[in-house]
């Protein structure tokens, strides 16, 4: 079997992983950057047209290609095959990668909260629909309602508008005053501030509502109709897509599988991005939601420290603290309102892989019991969608992760010697 060895192995080629790979490789270490997709850049810099990428993305991706780091694309890590050894599936074939230092930069995914009709084709994530559109999904002339919470809603609206979509409404669940306070705070970060002003300008003809959220989606075999509310009154839209997400959830599965400590839902790291497990570092949204700029800083710190160049990392400590403050402002401004946790009805499906409805889950008292009796969270996504949802609805915590952490072929699992 294909068995390779590197000084520094990085999982996840988003901003954090790319910055880590550049930093470690430029210090002369042998580096491999592993990613599931065929293109480096993670979700935020995803896109088939390099011309439509932000300049900073092109700069980092060019730097990556000049750094000497190896990029192992279309490769999914499925678990640990022993100390210092990752088991993965690369383009359908098993492969193993040996590491001296490991950097986990697996990023975050969107938080979905179940409501009646959320399983209909046409109901997607907000970043999710934008991702699809960046890779050729047709939205020109399609009517899109965007709902949920966070700056990603506006970013999605902007991206979809550029691809010809008709944005019917952007419904943000938090209040205008929370968003305004967050906006004023951005004055300290000119880059972000101008980004926000630009977005608001592009959005000037798009109806934006605050303190409003989706209550149901209807349609026969696909989405046709969305109902929104502000708690006092409800209104409807005919539409083709409901792009809907309520924030971000870190992808902690690999770190958890490797024995890293989790604190408040995120991987716990020190100022050097070092986890409690020897030689394993974590960087980016998996340690806290602070956007691509924060991830770039953390990635560089992790890359330098993994390469033994701690002095170079120290220069970034101030920036790191600053982006962490941005992250906590973000969490405060877009905190979820309690109404969102009770949108699902008894017959609403919560686990989309195994079709387990809310009413069934109500008969259990914890995640483990629900899994054992209903198969909730035991389908192909392994609870990545319903897990965070049941945490919001019932307060149940994810207890453990079992390998393989991603669906794999039996041939890949028995490939261990």
């Amino acid at each position: 079997m294909n068995d390779s060895k590197f000084d520094v192995v990085i999982v996840g080629a988003g901003p954090a992983g790319i910055a880590a790979a550049c930093s470690a490789a430029e210090c002369g270490r042998s580096v491999v950057l592993i990613d599931e997709t065929p293109w480096p850049g993670g979700q935020i810099w995803r896109g088939r047209q390099t011309s439509s990428r932000p300049k900073v993305a092109t700069q980092w991706i060019d730097r990556l290609h000049n750094s000497g780091a190896t990029v192992l694309d279309q490769t999914t890590v499925i678990g640990s095959a022993g100390p210092g050894l990752l088991l993965a599936e690369s383009k359908g074939r098993p492969c193993r990668v040996r590491w001296d230092k490991l950097i986990v930069a697996t990023g975050a995914r969107e938080l979905f909260l179940p409501f009646p009709g959320w399983t209909l084709p046409g109901v997607t994530g907000a970043g999710g629909l934008l991702n699809l559109v960046k890779n050729g999904w047709p939205v020109a002339g399609k009517r899109v309602v965007i709902a949920g919470s966070g700056p990603l809603l506006l970013a999605a609206a902007d991206g979809l508008l550029k691809h010809g979509a008709i944005i019917v409404e952007v419904a943000e669940q938090t209040s205008w005053s929370c968003v305004a306070r967050f906006g004023v705070g951005l004055c300290r970060r000119p880059g972000k501030f101008f980004q926000a002003v630009n977005l608001k300008f592009t959005m000037r003809n798009v109806p934006c509502t605050y303190e409003s959220w989706p209550v149901r989606a209807d349609g026969s075999e696909k989405l046709q109709h969305v109902t929104l509310t502000n708690g006092q009154r409800t209104w409807h839209h005919d539409c083709d897509f409901l792009a809907c997400a309520f924030g971000l959830v870190p992808n902690i599965e690999l770190a958890l599988c490797l024995g890293c400590e989790i604190k408040n839902g995120f991987v716990d790291v020190d100022a050097r991005q070092q986890t409690g497990v020897k030689d394993i570092y974590c960087a980016g949204e998996v340690t806290g939601i602070a956007g691509a700029d924060g991830a770039l800083v953390e990635g560089q710190i992790a890359g330098y420290c993994a390469a033994g160049a701690d002095h170079r990392a120290e220069a970034l400590a101030g920036k790191r603290r600053s982006w962490h403050r941005f992250g906590s402002d973000l969490a405060k401004a877009f905190a979820l309102r309690p109404e969102l946790r009770v949108l699902a009805e008894d017959q609403t499906i919560v686990c989309r892989c195994e079709d387990v409805a809310l009413g069934c889950l109500k008969t259990f008292s914890n995640w483990r019991e629900a899994k054992l009796h209903s198969r909730c969270g035991m389908g192909p996504c392994q609870g990545r969608v319903c897990g965070p949802a049941v945490k919001e609805i019932f307060g149940w915590e994810l207890e453990s992760v079992r390998p393989p952490i991603s669906p794999a072929r039996v041939a890949s699992l028995i490939a261990e010697d």
Partner: protein, 69 residues
């Protein structure tokens, strides 16, 4: 059908006018949710290989994609 290079299979399915990517265990129609390879709702059969994530797979010459299974 022909698509520009860099198009993912999920997008090609949508261009072909199909919104029902797969059938859930209870028979519901499902389509892509996360667009980033985690939710598995976009899975289709590609060249006879079942359960491929169409949002993470680029279209290739002569590819045969089966949906709504």
């Amino acid at each position: 059908m022909r698509v520009p290079s860099g198009t993912v299979v999920a997008a090609a399915v949508a261009i072909a006018g199909e919104s029902r990517f797969r059938r859930s265990v209870s028979g519901e129609a499902r389509g892509p949710l996360c667009g980033m390879g985690t939710c598995m709702e976009c899975r289709v059969t590609i060249d006879g290989r079942p359960h491929c994530r169409s949002c993470q797979t680029l279209c290739a010459q002569g590819m045969i994609v089966q949906t709504n299974e």
